[in-house]
């Protein structure tokens, strides 16, 4: 690791002031930043530890939603009774990520800001536009098994690796951010960005800006019919090749009243297509509608050779996840509901 100085501010204003200095980086769990510092990919001059700030609570909002503090741990969030009951999709997605040890350290804010797992990004001996702007992209024409099939540019084909973010995108979360200029709220769909000509910027946060919390909209709408499906090279403890967060609101007449579907592992950000969700409205939750939805979600998908398989895989994963959601929430922590299995899973 490069030489670095360390600060553990007790007050919000001091944290913002320290972070505004050149080369400063916040550290929360450290599970991504320390890893990247060991590889020499990130070389902050000073670390601003935000764990002494009062940002670790999980509490209901006046609107009936839930506020997840930025330094609340991924494990505490996934197992929180209000998350389990109101947002089982979020619980399932977090528990599908990393390992229990990492989830005990990883923070909710840090999860949003974890960087790509593109192996060329990690290898400081080769060009990478995300690491060194303008140096080129080694992935294009290289090993692309894990790379993007949607929203990529000729400058970068990396994917965002988070599972939690796929569920947050589907649930319509809002990021609360704070800087010396003031507070602001960022819709989750606007938080991460596509690579375009500036893949070095993963998101729309400003330099030195601090995530203080993640706000979830009122609970309940999708609690009965949601599923997070994660497909990977081994059964556990691996990043997604493709993942799907599927959430349905099924009305008393048995048709779909509202739907959210987000894909992980396929793009620089969790991938949502409003038209694909609208295609489910008023339909019976069954294969024909799910296939139409998948088709719209994957419209324009393009492989890079080794990752061509992700396109049909994602299509089938969408259909399967929607089938699981329709049959009843898979929250990964309690017995599958009796209704599970009535639809082919």
């Amino acid at each position: 690791m490069n030489p670095v100085t360390f600060h553990a501010p007790q007050a919000h204003a001091e944290a913002l002031r320290l972070a505004a200095r050149d080369g400063a980086a916040y550290i929360a769990g450290g599970t991504n930043l320390i890893d990247l510092m060991k590889e020499g990919v990130m070389r902050p001059a000073s670390l601003v530890d935000i764990n002494s700030l009062p940002l670790d609570t999980i509490a209901p909002t006046e609107q009936g939603g839930l506020l997840l503090g930025a330094t609340a741990r991924n494990a505490d969030t996934a197992y929180h009774p209000l998350v389990r009951s109101g947002y089982p999709l979020l619980s399932a997605a977090i528990l599908a990520g990393a390992s229990p040890q990492i989830r005990n350290m990883a923070s909710d804010g840090g999860n949003l800001l974890q960087r790509t797992r593109c192996h060329y990004f990690y290898d400081i001996a080769v060009p990478c536009n995300k690491r060194v702007p303008g140096s080129g992209c080694s992935a294009i024409g290289g090993l692309t098994r894990q790379h993007a099939i949607l929203g990529a540019s000729e400058h970068c084909i990396a994917t965002h690796p988070s599972d939690m973010c796929v569920a947050l995108a589907a649930l319509g979360a809002v990021v609360h951010a704070s800087s010396e200029q003031g507070e602001r709220r960022i819709d989750f769909t606007d938080f991460h960005r596509l690579p375009g000509a500036n893949p070095e910027r993963d998101n729309t946060l400003l330099p030195g800006e601090l995530i203080t919390a993640i706000e979830l909209p009122p609970a309940g709408q999708f609690a009965a019919h949601s599923a997070y499906l994660k497909l990977r090279d081994r059964a556990s403890y691996a990043f997604a090749l493709v993942s799907v967060a599927a959430a349905l609101d099924i009305g008393p007449d048995g048709t779909v009243r509202a739907a959210r579907v987000a894909l992980g592992g396929v793009a620089h950000k969790p991938w949502r297509v409003p038209a694909a969700e609208d295609a489910l409205l008023g339909k019976q939750p069954a294969s024909a509608a799910f296939e139409a939805c998948a088709e719209l979600l994957l419209a324009g998908a393009r492989g890079h050779g080794q990752n061509d398989f992700k396109i049909p895989m994602a299509r089938r994963a969408v259909v399967r996840a929607l089938g699981q959601a329709a049959a009843g929430t898979i929250d990964n922590m309690h017995a599958a509901p009796a209704s599970a299995g009535k639809e082919p899973l």
Partner: protein, 184 residues
């Protein structure tokens, strides 16, 4: 936290005074900011029970308990854990009495080279404290942060589930395995 600047030949390197309670004993140290908890334990305090496998959070060999929770000591800085209570594999036994998990690992022949074992033991203690695993399949999933290259998994799972009193249980028939969802 205030840094101390060590006297001596330039360039001066800032160090930070920290105090940790490790296996019940209060320890004071001066560390540079970039010293991981793992390196502090192994290289400076001589507690070599905790192993360094990958040094990148991928294998679980460095698992210790901080504040009762299992974490990877390789992915946290010692200075970030100032004031905390740390338990390593050296702290699991009660005097001469092995921790029930340690005895169960011996009884089930749950190690070959033994390199991953300290992390597996600390992880299993953490898993039991968390109280989220109720079936053998859940134990398997919630031990997945510990990689054993000798492949001693069946014996490890047998040892952990025996101590948890789950040994007689088969995987829960009410909870069919759904590939891609976690835990199984």
């Amino acid at each position: 936290m205030d840094a101390h600047t060590t006297a001596g030949p330039a360039p001066a390197v800032a160090t930070y005074p920290i105090s940790l309670r490790i296996n019940g004993e209060q320890r004071q140290c001066e560390v540079e900011a970039w010293v991981t908890l793992l390196d502090l334990l192994r290289e400076r305090l001589g507690l070599s029970g905790t192993k360094k496998g990958c040094d990148h959070g991928q294998c679980g060999a460095c698992t210790v308990l901080v504040g009762g929770k299992r974490i990877n000591a390789c992915l946290t800085l010692a200075v970030m854990q100032n004031g905390k209570e740390v338990v390593t594999v050296e702290g699991l036994a009660d005097g001469g009495q092995l921790h029930p998990l340690q005895q169960a690992f011996i009884d089930h022949d749950a190690f070959q080279c033994g390199y991953c074992t300290p992390g597996q033991l600390c992880s299993a203690v953490g898993l039991m404290r968390e109280g989220e695993a109720r079936t053998v399949a859940e134990v398997r999933e919630l031990m997945s942060g510990n990689v054993c290259r000798c492949g001693a998994y069946p014996q490890i799972i047998a040892a952990v589930t025996q101590v948890m009193g789950l040994a007689e249980h088969k995987d829960n028939p009410d909870r069919p395995y759904l590939p891609g969802t976690v835990p199984a």
